[in-house]
Symmetry: C2
Subunit: 334 residues, 2 copies
Amino acid sequence: MAAKKRQQYIIGVDLGGTNIVVGAMSADGEQHLAVRSAPTSAELGAEGVADRIVGLIEEVILDTMEIKRASRKDFLGVGIGAPGPLDRENGLVIVAPNLGWRNFPLRDRIGERLDLPATLDNDANCATVGEWWQGAARGGTNVIGMTIGTGIGGGLILDGKLFHGSSDVAGEIGHTTIDLNGRHCKCGNYGCLEAYASGPAIATRAREVLVREETASLLPSMVGGKLDSITAETVYKAAQQGDAVANEIVRDTARYLGAGIANLLNIINADVVVVAGGVTQAGDALFTPLNAEVRRRAFRRAVDSTRIVPGELPGTAGVVGAVATFKMQHLGAL
Amino acid sequence: MAAKKRQQYIIGVDLGGTNIVVGAMSADGEQHLAVRSAPTSAELGAEGVADRIVGLIEEVILDTMEIKRASRKDFLGVGIGAPGPLDRENGLVIVAPNLGWRNFPLRDRIGERLDLPATLDNDANCATVGEWWQGAARGGTNVIGMTIGTGIGGGLILDGKLFHGSSDVAGEIGHTTIDLNGRHCKCGNYGCLEAYASGPAIATRAREVLVREETASLLPSMVGGKLDSITAETVYKAAQQGDAVANEIVRDTARYLGAGIANLLNIINADVVVVAGGVTQAGDALFTPLNAEVRRRAFRRAVDSTRIVPGELPGTAGVVGAVATFKMQHLGAL
């Protein structure tokens, strides 16, 4: 038998509009080691945010070296998940509206500063791969990942491989039209799923009902009467307390998501759909009507061969997936 | 150098609700040889239709033997394209509403009768593969194929391979919701693309306008006043003659198809979209507003990396693709 190989490590970076999360994992994925996070502080500009990421990575490397008595050469590299559209081949963030970036060479900036190989992939792709590698979509062959937060991001595993499409845009599930003449979306289109079922859209729909109808609801009192302070979380909490308005909003959310997922099932015929993000806090109040809506809309054979599940890695799917995409891009296999 | 190999042949079968088309091609795809077709005559029942297919194949084999001085052992096998849902692994047509079939073992029935290997795939998949191998989508890596006729069928080539999904349902593009509360579709869902943009849906929308509005239009006179006789073809012809109602219907069709294609581009990020079927008769009157609608709705990067083109193999894409799927399934490569 060969001598026992030294353990090696990979760093994962999840760059969001609000926070940066950085973690280290053993290269085999079995150990989750140090994790550090910090506010993104987009106002620092692209170079400033890159500095911050490098700083967090240095801390994570030091933590890991201490915990595992590792040396710096045991680190194989850094996988970075960032908001897209991206140019993966050249390691660029083409546009990141929440960060104000344009054509920023994030991959090489990080890699050069650390003198480590680095890879770049879309944040929603990373979250999907994380759930596929170690979370709710383990064992799936065709996986649809949806992360519902400020927006609705998506990733696709097809025939056992992360699918990027022809120019790294694939999986933009949030920007599929479910209502031709519907609500205006930030992307410019009308009737996008995101315009109905993202966190802010859920809050907006709740406010609209409260303003339009003089219905008794717990919601206003939960935000001290300031309707503008209602968030999706407020709605989930009120729904759990049996509030009728909040429950209607959650049911409608299930209906919108159900229509969007039904479309994806008829197109992709996935065996797993992972729904992650704040919306999973709504629990069965969301998932029960969501499953019913999907069954009503999609082909029976597509519905019967899938499972729709909440994410199992809240907060870490992005980092785990960033490590996984580094393995796939740089080492050629997961 | 090796002795010149004997030319080999593959039979392709395109089984539709109305017609069966059977053709022979050289295994390298370079020669299109005998083609025969006959009405499907679904009233014969599954066994009767299978007999008819076998009879057509026998004729095509004899024709090819005569043309090419081939012998029976030069035929490698038969690729069959049939309406789905299918169980490819077991060679079954699970349900074919237009044929009245349930769990019919079409592949083995044909293969055993001819003593030749046979494969089965979805008709819309075959049409897409046909256009990819020898038609409008040549060279594409990620291809969306749409065939618009009585229904809207679809097929997907992803990362250079025909994509089937987890239970052979993938690519059901016609049954994606574009209007949550929209028209009822034969599939049971509401607001499917097919309910707006299939041939019969186009005719229905034209009739609705004529009944609702007392607008001057060429359409009634083109069908001797019998509005029920209006078909999609009538609409395209009237549009070409400058009829305002028909042009409105064609523009609306472009809008519906544009929304459906925009959804697919944001999900799949294809480099080619092939639109085939009768609808292509509408020409630029359709494709110009369709492209505009796609550009309005989909991500710029997805739009900029694709081309939306009419099919180049009207009538034969299904047979060519059936031959191609035989090669992929039975010989392992195209």
